[in-house]
């Protein structure tokens, strides 16, 4: 009797699970197996796939365009993450002073983050346009921001920062709001000034927020595609904005080297796993403060 009931319940469980299980197996698990298979084959979708062993790997690691895209991506992340994190923390500190209008401003700052990155990229492409663009009109210049191999990547990074600062600010505000008042009072009584309080009381307590903001920021910056694709198609001037994601796109869907593109995708995956583990390790090692 009891086992019949249990079997019935299990049946209902599997029934409820069936659609999502199919979706996950077909569109997430199976693709991982396929991407590994693809990485060992040469295939352009037209002629039959051909097993080539590790040739794709050898080719990709000797591919100058791919190696350059690794460097470009790293530079992009190094431009975006520190600036975006510092600006977000700074804005959150100012907003947390609780002046009238702070709640309103917090909402405004998030607006770019809700919009399609592709559309924002197109808007900024106009702003950066050498003639008729808003930035040159403001500066009274006629700089070709996006076709200069030196300026293009910082310009692209600036757009990325602009669209994400508000989002980062939200998390730092939540973190700052969670700092207990009695600690701030204690610091004040001990004679700490605002500067000291920030660095020695608030910042250490923001460690979990910092971890979250850095991990999610780094992971998404390593995969950035939409905005960069809109601003600088085809990898930008001399490939100066050709990040890994745009490189994979070109290799897979413009030259249809699906095998080699799959290798690149696997490399990106490996890099992301390593970065996440490294950040995990760094933040675990440092002292954490336990509420007790």
């Amino acid at each position: 009797m009891a086992s019949k009931l249990a079997r019935r319940e299990a049946g209902i469980g599997y029934l409820l699970l069936a659609p999502s299980l199919f979706g996950i197996l077909a569109f997430l698990v199976l693709p991982i197996l396929v991407v590994i298979w693809l990485s060992l084959n040469s295939w352009d979708l037209l002629s039959p796939a051909r097993y080539v062993g590790l040739d794709n790997f050898a080719h990709v690691f000797a591919d100058r365009a791919f190696l350059r895209s690794l460097g470009v991506t790293l530079l992009f992340v190094l431009l975006v993450i520190p600036v975006q994190t510092a600006l977000g923390l700074f804005a959150a500190t100012l907003l947390s002073r609780g002046l009238p209008g702070s709640a309103f401003l917090r909402v405004i700052y998030v607006i770019p983050w809700i919009c399609a990155p592709l559309a924002l990229g197109v808007v900024w492409k106009w702003i950066f346009a050498p003639t008729g663009g808003a930035l040159n009109a403001v500066l009274g210049a006629n700089t070709a921001w996006l076709s200069d191999p030196v300026l293009a990547l910082p310009a692209v990074a600036a757009v990325s920062i602009w669209s994400q600062v508000g989002y980062v600010t939200l998390f730092f505000m939540a973190g700052l709001a969670a700092v207990p008042d009695q600690l701030l009072d204690a610091a004040r009584i001990d004679g700490a000034n605002a500067w000291q309080t920030f660095w020695q009381v608030k910042l250490p307590l923001l460690r979990p927020t910092m971890f979250f903001v850095l991990v999610t920021g780094v992971i998404s910056s390593f995969q950035a595609f939409d905005t960069i694709y809109a601003l600088t198609p085809n990898g930008g001037p001399q490939g100066s904005t050709d990040v890994i994601a745009t490189r994979i796109y070109a290799e897979a869907f413009q030259t249809f080297n699906l095998g080699r593109a799959s290798v690149m995708a696997l490399v990106l995956f490996a890099v992301l796993v390593l970065v996440t583990l490294a950040q995990q390790f760094y933040f675990r090692k440092r002292i954490t403060y336990d509420l007790s």
Binding site: E9, I12, G13, Y14, L17, P19, S20, G23, I24, A26, F27, L28, P31, I32, V35, L45, L94, L99, L105, I108, V110, I111, I114, C115, A116, P117, A119, V122, V123, W126, G132, A134, A137, L170, F171, A178, P180, L183, D190, G191, N193, A194, W195, Q196, V201, F212, T216, I219, F225, D226, A230, I244, F253, A265, L266, L268, F269, Y289, D290, L291
Partner: protein, 336 residues
């Protein structure tokens, strides 16, 4: 993007007791500031920490605070302008005629404003209605299917006993770690082999069966609903689906609202998958159509800005109405 990224370790736990050590000044009195000249304010940020009574005269404290407030507002207002300027300027450009755009500086208000660009966008072969309709359909199917199937799966994981339940849940969790860029090439080959490239099915199938991320959040929420409520209903003879629909779901409105917003935003904005799996105009989404317009009419910025205005307007309206929910949704889920 489409399956939202994992939320990572989540929001910080509130507080944490810190061994208070406020630096060199902690043990004794802090560095003694020279008494300020009459009327001059101490540098912002140093007043509260100064231990000299001289620096704490009410008037200088107040003027320092005032100065600090003015500075804060100045910086925050700068942020406001920088945040909004691209939107305001692009919308202004969308309402200019090409002639006005060519003859006037980029920062001038269109006079007279014209809707010529929008008319052009919706007329003739550009027909921007089609991508709006396609995207709206994708969003609708995604909200109904993805949320519906996610609710069923989350309820099974949260409240029903069956063999391999925990193992399967781990598989679901693990798939959240896989970035889209890894699955997009195999998905493309899969859909090509099935002959589904450039169809409506291709746009929605990978997402419609549920999202591991939504399932994860819903499961957490369902588990927080008191067991007593559910066992009472079961004693009254309610079946699993009845319990789900008349007890669990009504109690889960906040998380359902959050997930609806996330789903709408991520599918309206989705770009890479529709870009790859569609070709031609029939199944273009708004983002793909905007990108296509930009490369086709390169330099015709008034028309292109009309397109970006339309691509962003629905979510901006949604944001204006639901900003409170959206802000708290981000805080809850870290959605992306």
């Amino acid at each position: 993007m489409t399956f939202p990224e994992p939320s990572g370790p989540g929001l910080p736990e509130p507080g944490g007791l810190v061994p208070v050590s406020t630096g060199p000044g902690a043990a004794g009195p802090g560095p003694v500031a020279p008494p300020p000249a009459v009327g001059s304010a101490p540098a912002p940020g140093t007043t509260s920490g100064s231990t000299t009574t001289a620096a704490r005269t009410p008037s200088s404290g107040r003027s320092a605070r005032l100065l600090l407030n003015v500075l804060t507002y100045a910086i925050l207002a700068g942020g406001l302008v920088l945040t909004l300027a691209p939107f305001v300027l692009s919308v202004m450009t969308a309402f200019k005629s090409p002639g006005q755009f060519a003859s006037q500086p980029a920062l001038t208000v269109p006079a007279p404003a014209t809707i010529e660009n929008f008319l052009q966008l919706f007329s003739g072969d550009r027909n921007f209605w089609a991508p709006i309709v396609v995207t709206a359909q994708v969003v609708l199917v995604a909200v109904v299917g993805q949320l519906g199937f996610s609710v069923l799966a989350a309820y099974a994981f949260a409240r029903i006993q069956f063999p391999l339940r925990d193992a399967l849940f781990w598989v679901y969790l693990a798939t959240m770690m896989v970035p889209q860029v890894v699955t997009i090439i195999p998905l493309y080959t899969l859909f090509s082999q099935l002959g589904l490239r450039n169809t409506f099915w291709a746009l929605v199938l990978p997402f419609v069966f549920g999202s591991p991320y939504a399932i994860f959040l819903l499961r957490e929420y369902f588990r927080s609903i008191p067991e007593d409520l559910i066992s009472a209903a079961r004693l009254d003879g309610a079946g699993t689906l009845r319990i789900l629909f008349s007890i669990v779901l009504p109690l889960s409105r906040p998380i359902l609202a959050t997930l609806t917003i996330i789903t709408v935003v991520s599918h309206w904005n989705n770009f890479l998958w529709p870009l790859i799996i569609t070709s031609g105009r029939t199944w273009q989404t708004v983002t793909v159509a905007t990108a296509g317009l930009q490369s086709q009419y390169n330099g015709n910025w008034t028309l292109v800005m009309a397109a970006t205005t339309i691509a962003m307007a629905p979510l901006l309206v949604l944001f204006a109405i639901f900003q409170r929910n959206i802000i708290s949704s981000i805080a809850i889920t870290g959605f992306k």
